[in-house]
Each structure stands twice: as structure tokens, then as C-alpha cells.
Amino acid sequence: MNIVIPHPLSIIVLSPLLAALIIMLLPRQRFFAIRFTGFLGTLPTVLTSLYIYLNYDRARGGMQFVEGFPWLKQMGISYSLGVDGISIPLVMLTAVVIFTGVFASWTITYRPKEFYCLLLLLVSGVFGVFVSNNLFFFFLFYELAVLPMYLLIGIWGTGAKEYSAMKLTLYLLAGSAFMLVGLLALYFYSGLETFDLEALTRAGYNVGIQRIAFFLFYIGFGILAGIWPLHTWSPDGHASAPTAVSMLHAGVLMKLGAYGVLRVGVGILPEGLKFWAPLVAVIAVINIVYGAYVAMGQRDLKYVIAYSSVSHMGVVMLGCAAFNAIAVNGAVFQMVSHGLMTALFFALVGLVYEKAHTRDILAMGGFARRMPGIALCFTIGGLASFGLPGTSGFVAEFMVFLGTFRAHPEKLLGRVPLFMLLAIASAVAIVITATYVLRLLQRVFHGPLDEHHYADLPDARTTEWVAITVNAALLLILGLLPRLLTDLIGISVGQFIR
């Protein structure tokens, strides 16, 4: 590879923003121009993220492609970007999801101009969080990623959209209030007068501060990551949101929360994590089990997927809590795998809803005969969801459970091997996942077809194929060749866990 792209990370963050500005200037009737600009704004992010993946110097490790300039020098705030093995997979994930999301929202005809503007704005924020090297900008981008959601769900959503939008926004902003307090605490107690991530990593906070700060960040980021019992915004929000927004939110935004816990909680405050690890792990397992049970009880297709996200995010948090190389590696891998899987699911649900005009599982049946392509992709996603070997879900869950099994060997209260039990419990929970996924597949795509109701049910068409095939293919590729990512993640995780 001889191509050199200057400032690749700035390109990734700014190209969606630029596209949003251009769309703002386009006349509102030019539907195609608006969509095409959206496409052009996301294309560079895919190519550039591929470029950083290929050109990341694996022998050196650490933060690379570093760039930036000081913003408010006397306070240690600077625009500073950089990526390591943990953030690269997530940047790539975001690029894929938004790229496919643009195609999934190709059919939006109600105020498309505002829709694409907000969507691209949001994506800029997401990229910004993943590549920020300065905690302050991390926070700024985080807010940028959260706010457009209110309008995106409120205007283009379905069902109780205003309620869901307000609930989601207030929950997430309450989370960011906790983060802000934690942020200021880190700043003041380091005595370094800087927000630079690497400097803060070396700040060596005393144990008491670490415990308090970790708790603040755990609540703050955890709300976004959907930890029980603060997850209730997520099913409502995801079910009400339009397709591309659900894809992005469940696929990528929830990962911001987990990434935050990993980067700030685990990276800067390892003592805090050690103290809270049993709590984090127990809540993570509650997420896994409870999410799966609730998913089983849903009739609305979108709620099933939304609760399965709550369940799968538990796997990520469990990996973070276990805090050894293999579990954290698995957690990051699960972020990517779940991101692709959920994006695929929401894209599929969007298509099914658009064609069948219902999301009620009991009203469907036998759709595989009318839409074989959609059924196939849904099956791939479903298999990945309960971790069938050969799909990415298997790799991720296997790594996390393996790591958890070995984690924190000291026994709770002197006799309970907590993490071992948790690993067993969450592995068993996969059975529940398999139950609801298989039942869903059977109900929706097999069984008798209501010929009268669904006489002319088409399969996916033209642009609709992009979102579902790309995501489904990536799920399989990562399942068969997990080393594409695990090696890269492993480099940084190794440096991370000292």
C-alpha cells in the first residue's frame, strides 16, 4: 500500500459533517441529490477506515495516526485524535453501519433533507468519540451523538415516538451529567491540568478516588450501554426509531457506552474496576438473562430485537468486568459482532414492516416463500445471535465466557467462585436466546402463509439489498476468520491490561 492519506482521522470525523452542511444548502425537493450527498459523505469514512486498518503499525502498537491542535491550552483541552487496536474495529463498524444505514433510509420521503442532516451529524459525533484522545472532546462528541436522536425519533419515528424520544434523551443526558462530574473529578485530582487520555492514564489516582470516579463513569456510560435497570429507554427508543436510526443506535451508539467504560473506566481507573467488578459482572449477567427472557415475551418484532440488544450488551459488559486479555478482546469483538448483527436485524425488520405493514409476530407467517433473500439474511443474523460456530457471535461469546471463567480467581466472601458461576449462568442463557430466535424465525418466515393478506409480498429490491447483504456477509466472514480483528484488538488489549 503506497497510498498515503493525510489526516485520515479528521477525514473520518469531518466528512459526514461536511456532507450535512452541503445537504443543508440543497433545495428540499431534490430527493436524489440529498441521498447521494449522504452516500458521498459516508463513502470516505468506509475507505479511510479501511486505510487505517491496513496501515496501522502492528509491531509498534499504541495510539497511531495522532493529530490535533490545542483548543484551550491553559485548561489542557485539545482537539487530539488517535486510534489503537480497540478503536479501529469500532470505527470500521461505525463506517459500515452508517454506510448501509444511508441505503436503508433510501425510501424516506418525509422531510429527507433534515433526516440526512441529523443522521450525518450524529455519525460525526460517534466517530469523534471513537477517535478522540482528549477526554474533553470525547465528551463533546458524545453529546453531539446523543442529541440529534431526539429529533430523529420524534419526527420520523413510529408508535409512541414523542414519549420514547424524550425518555431516551433525558436518560442519556442524565448519564452525561454523571460523566461530566466524573470528568471534572479526574481533571482536578490528577493535578496535571490536562484532559489528555494518555496523560490521565498515567496519573496514578489513589484508590478512593478511583472507586468513586469509576462508579460515576459506570453509571454515565452504562446508561448508554443499556445496563439493567437503567436500560428501559433502549427498547422504547429502538422500537420507535426509524430503521436507519435504530441500526445506528443499537448497532453503534450503545457501543459508545461500552467503549467509554472500557477506555475511561478500565484504562484510567483499573483500581475502581477491581472494586466494582463483582457488581458490574452481576448486572451484566442480569442483562443477559433478563434481556433474553423479556425478548421471548414480546409480540412486536422490533421489541424482540431491542431486548436482544440489551441481552447482548450484557456480554460486552461482562467481558469488561472480567478484565483479562481474552475477555476484553472478546468484549471488543462482541461490540463489533453485535453492532453488525443488530444493524442487520433492524434493517430487516424495517424491510419486513415496510412490505407487510405489521410488526406483530403473530400476524405473520411463511414469509420465506415470498421474500427468500430477507429470510436468509434473517437466519444468518439469528444464528449469529445465539452464537452458532461459524458466525462472529460464537467467537465473541466464547472468548468472553472463557475469559470470565478464569477471571478474578479470589472467591467472594471466601467461598463463592463468583465469576465462574457467572460464566456458567451466561453460557446457559444462550439456550434462552436460541429459543426466542428460533421461535421468531419459525413464526415469521415459516409455517402457513396468509395468502389472502400477503398476496403480493415482494422481496428486497435494488438499494435495499445493500444494507442486509453487506452486514450478513461480514457476520459470516468474521465468524470464519476472526483473526482479522482479534489480532489487532489483542495488541492494544495487551498494552491496556498491564
Binding site: 419526527i155 434523551t169 461530566l180 471534572l184 482536578f188
Partner: protein, 474 residues
């Protein structure tokens, strides 16, 4: 004592502008729609602003009672910009809704003059004069929209409450004078173990300023007056009168009365906490946007008081910076309310339904202002609040900061409810809302400022200079 009139040059120039506006008003006696006088006063204010900027390095005191220092400079900047933007925004409004635009604009300038004198005062008597000139003009302005009964009601309520607070101030000032034997700040030397008369005097003065800054429980007048007064005046009032109150508070309590902090510090903390909680809670059920903004202003005063409670240079820097950004944010919001109100005919929040499709510019600007009030990064309001909380945490005011952070999450609910009306609801009619050119210029200036203050460095430097001149601990 040397008589250096350059120290007071901006005030003299402002006097000149007032007489110019009145004279022009009388020359064109016959024409009835004289909104364009607002352009004249805005242009004049620009010149005075340039003059003030040119005299930035001027330091000193005139006859001991009138001070020109960085603190006064910063606040004068706020008043002049507020008056200029308010004049621009009222050009169309005054021509359409008021019978006497000439009086309207000259009273606005009188009020500005009063507040400028108030923050420059180095003497209790002059402080009182400035305060009265500033607020009496505002009483008249509030009652100016004679065809609306609410306007008269607002004027009367404001007058009565204002008179009470003036009386409290005067009584307090007389007690201070009685204890210390002087009215000049520079000569005051209160001891740590001050007599009860001085303490009572100080607390009464504090109460009088609490009226001006609309701190709970001295806020009762604000919602009614805000709702009833002509909207551009509400905007001016919400910014300038509040800033003047804070200016005088800082001048007096971070200056000569600083050593009595043991007696008033707790009061200030209670005022801050109550204002944040009550302001935000009472804003939730409002259906009139002016009342909602009044309560939000009360809450914002509460945030600001955190910085004063810090009692440090950092605290004052953050307070002055917060006022800089609050000027643009709040005034901008009221300009939008003016424009929508004068087209739609009322100020109900549900009249904002579908505003984004009737006038995207107005809706976008109001969204920016509301998000900034809610403290969303990277807008100016976020930085303002961040510095306030920062200063608070620095002095271990954890409890107040915690209230502040939680209250700001709460506040987003009612700000977003307006956003919901503008962006999500369908408009009752799709006719575009017309906006006059001068008002949209004022609006765009505010919106740009809200975005550009996201890079706060130069403004911090200004605020820091003011805070340094007080000689507080770091």
C-alpha cells in the same frame, strides 16, 4: 483630585445619543411610524461601543465615586451590546405596536445609562442613582404597550416591587453608612467582628440585589413582568437588569464587604440552591414561553450564584463569562419570541407548532438558544455552566454543583418541549412567518455569538481581567 473626563466619556456620549434620539423624534413630529429610530440608536450604540473599546486601558476614579476599571468595562460591554441588539430587534416592533417609538428608544438608552453608572459606581449614593435611573426607565418601558392591559399590569407590579427593593437597599445603605462613616467603597474598612448594624445593612443590600437578579425567594415579580412587558424589553430586562444586579453584587460583596463573608456566605448559598431548584421546577408546567423563560432565567441566576459562592478569582471569571454568553443566548431567545409573537399574536408555546416549516431560520436559532440555555456542548451555554461548576468544585461546593448538574438535566425537558413543538408538531397553517431585516440581523448576531463563544478563550481573558482587579484569592 484630577478631573479626567475621559473616564466617563462613554456615559457622556450615551447622554448625547439620548438627546439626539429625542431631537430627531421631535423633528419628525408628524410621521407616526418611527421604528427606524431604533436604527439610529443602534448605530449610536455601535459608536459608543467603539469609544468604550478605545478607552479600554483607561483606569482610575473620577472624584473617588466613579470608577473605570476592567470590571466596569466588562459590564458596560454587556449593557451596550444588549441595548444595541434590543434596538435593532425593536425597529419593526416599535413601528407596529407602540405609539411613541421615540420615547421607547430614549428610555431604553436611559436605562442603559443607569446600569452603566451602577456598575461604575464606587460610592453607595451613586450606585443608588444608577440603579434608580436604570429601573425607573424600565418601569415605564414595561407599561408602554398601552393596548395590552397586561403591559400596564406588568409596569405597576414592577414599580411596586422595585420600589420595595429600593427602599430595602436605601435602608441597608444607611446602616452601612452609619457603621462605617462613609459611602465611598475605597474608604470602607469593616472589621471581622462587625457590629450588628453593619451586618443587617449588608444583608439588606444583598436582599435588594437579589430582587434584581431574580433569586428565589425574591423572584415573585419576574414571571408577571416578563410576561406583560413588551417582548424586546423583556429581553433587555432579563439580561441587562440581571447583569447590573450581579455587577453591583460583585463590586460590593467581593470588595468592601468581602471580610464579612461569614455573615452572608450562607445566605448566598441558600439563594443559589433555591433558585436552581425552584426555577427549574416552576418552569416545567408553563405554557407561555415568556413565563417559561422567566423561570429559566431564575434558574440561570441560581447557577451563577454558585460562582459567587466560590469567593475566588476563578469564580468571578466564570460569572462574568457566563453573563457574556447569557447576554446573547437569552436576548436571542427573546428576539425570536418577539418576532413570532408579533406575527402570531400570542406567546403560547403551542403557537410554535411547526415553526421549523414556517420559518426555518427562526426555529433553528431558537433551538440553538434553548440548547445553549440547557448547557449542551459545544454551544456557549455549556462553557458558561462548565466554568461555573468548575469554580464551584474547586472550592468544594459539591452539593451546590450536584444540584446544578441535576437541575440542568431537568431543564432540558422544558427546553426540548419547545423544540418538539417547533420540529415535530405539524403547523396549523403553512404560511411563512415574515421577519424584518434589522431583527434578523440582531438574531443572526446572537446565533453566531452563541456558536463562536464555543471557542471561549478571548472572552475568558476579558472576564479574567475583571476578576483580577478585585484582588480575590486565586
Amino acid at each position: 483630585m484630577e478631573l479626567n473626563l475621559w473616564l466617563i466619556a462613554p456615559e457622556i456620549a450615551l447622554c448625547g445619543l439620548i438627546f439626539l434620539v429625542m431631537a430627531v423624534d421631535l423633528i419628525f413630529l408628524r410621521s407616526s411610524r418611527k421604528g427606524w429610530l431604533g436604527l439610529l440608536s443602534a448605530a449610536g450604540l455601535c459608536v459608543i461601543l467603539a469609544l468604550l473599546a478605545g478607552l479600554k486601558e483607561m483606569r482610575g476614579s473620577l472624584l473617588g465615586g466613579f470608577l473605570a476599571d476592567p470590571l466596569a468595562f466588562d459590564f458596560k460591554l454587556i449593557f451596550l451590546v444588549a441595548a444595541g441588539l434590543c434596538s435593532l430587534a425593536s425597529v419593526d416592533f416599535a413601528g407596529r405596536h407602540l405609539r411613541w417609538p421615540g420615547e421607547f428608544f430614549s428610555l431604553l438608552l436611559f436605562s442603559t445609562l443607569g446600569f452603566m453608572i451602577m456598575v461604575s459606581a464606587g460610592d453607595l449614593i451613586l450606585l443608588y442613582l444608577g440603579l434608580e435611573l436604570g429601573t425607573i426607565s424600565l418601569y415605564a418601558l414595561s407599561a408602554m404597550q398601552k393596548d395590552r392591559p397586561r403591559s400596564g399590569e406588568a409596569g405597576l407590579k414592577y414599580l411596586i416591587m422595585g420600589a420595595v427593593s429600593s427602599a430595602v437597599f436605601l435602608y441597608g445603605a444607611s446602616l452601612i453608612y452609619g457603621s462605617l462613616g462613609t459611602t465611598v467603597f475605597a474608604e470602607m474598612q469593616p472589621l471581622e467582628n462587625a457590629g450588628p448594624a453593619l451586618v443587617v445593612g449588608g444583608v439588606m443590600v444583598l436582599a435588594a440585589f437579589a430582587f434584581k437578579i431574580t433569586a428565589v425567594p425574591f423572584h415573585m415579580w419576574a414571571p408577571d413582568v416578563y410576561q406583560g412587558a413588551p417582548t424586546p424589553i423583556t429581553g433587555f430586562l432579563s439580561v441587562a437588569s440581571k447583569a447590573a444586579g450581579f455587577g453591583a453584587l460583585i463590586r460590593l460583596f467581593m470588595g468592601p464587604l468581602f471580610s464579612l463573608q461569614g455573615n452572608w456566605f450562607a445566605i448566598l448559598m441558600v439563594l443559589s440552591g433555591l433558585s436552581m431548584v425552584a426555577g427549574n421546577l416552576l418552569a416545567l408546567p408553563q405554557s407561555n414561553i415568556k413565563r417559561m423563560l422567566a423561570y429559566s432565567g431564575i434558574a440561570q441566576a441560581g447557577y451563577l450564584l454558585i460562582a459567587l459562592c466560590a469567593l475566588t478569582e476563578k469564580g468571578m471569571t466564570s460569572a462574568v463569562f457566563f453573563l457574556f454568553q447569557y447576554l446573547f443566548v437569552n436576548l436571542g431567545a427573546f428576539i425570536v419570541v418577539t418576532l413570532v409573537g408579533s406575527s402570531v399574536g400570542n406567546d403560547e408555546i403551542r403557537s410554535y407548532a411547526g415553526l421549523s416549516r414556517r420559518n426555518p431560520l427562526l426555529a433553528l436559532c431558537l433551538l440553538l438558544f434553548l440548547l445553549s440555555l440547557g448547557g449542551i456542548p459545544p454551544l456557549s451555554g455549556f462553557w458558561g455552566k462548565l466554568f461555573l461548576f468548575w469554580a464551584g468544585i474547586d472550592q468544594n461546593l459539591y452539593f451546590l454543583v450536584l444540584i446544578g448538574v441535576l437541575a440542568s438535566v431537568l431543564s432540558l425537558y422544558y427546553y426540548l418541549m419547545v423544540a418538539r413543538q417547533m420540529y415535530i408538531e405539524d403547523p396549523p397553517e403553512t404560511t411563512p412567518l415574515p421577519v424584518s431585516l434589522p431583527a434578523s440581523i440582531a438574531l443572526i448576531i446572537c446565533a453566531l455569538a452563541v456558536i463562536l463563544l464555543g471557542y471561549p478563550k478571548p472572552w475568558i481573558a476579558l472576564a479574567q481581567a475583571a476578576a483580577k482587579s478585585l484582588g480575590l484569592p486565586q
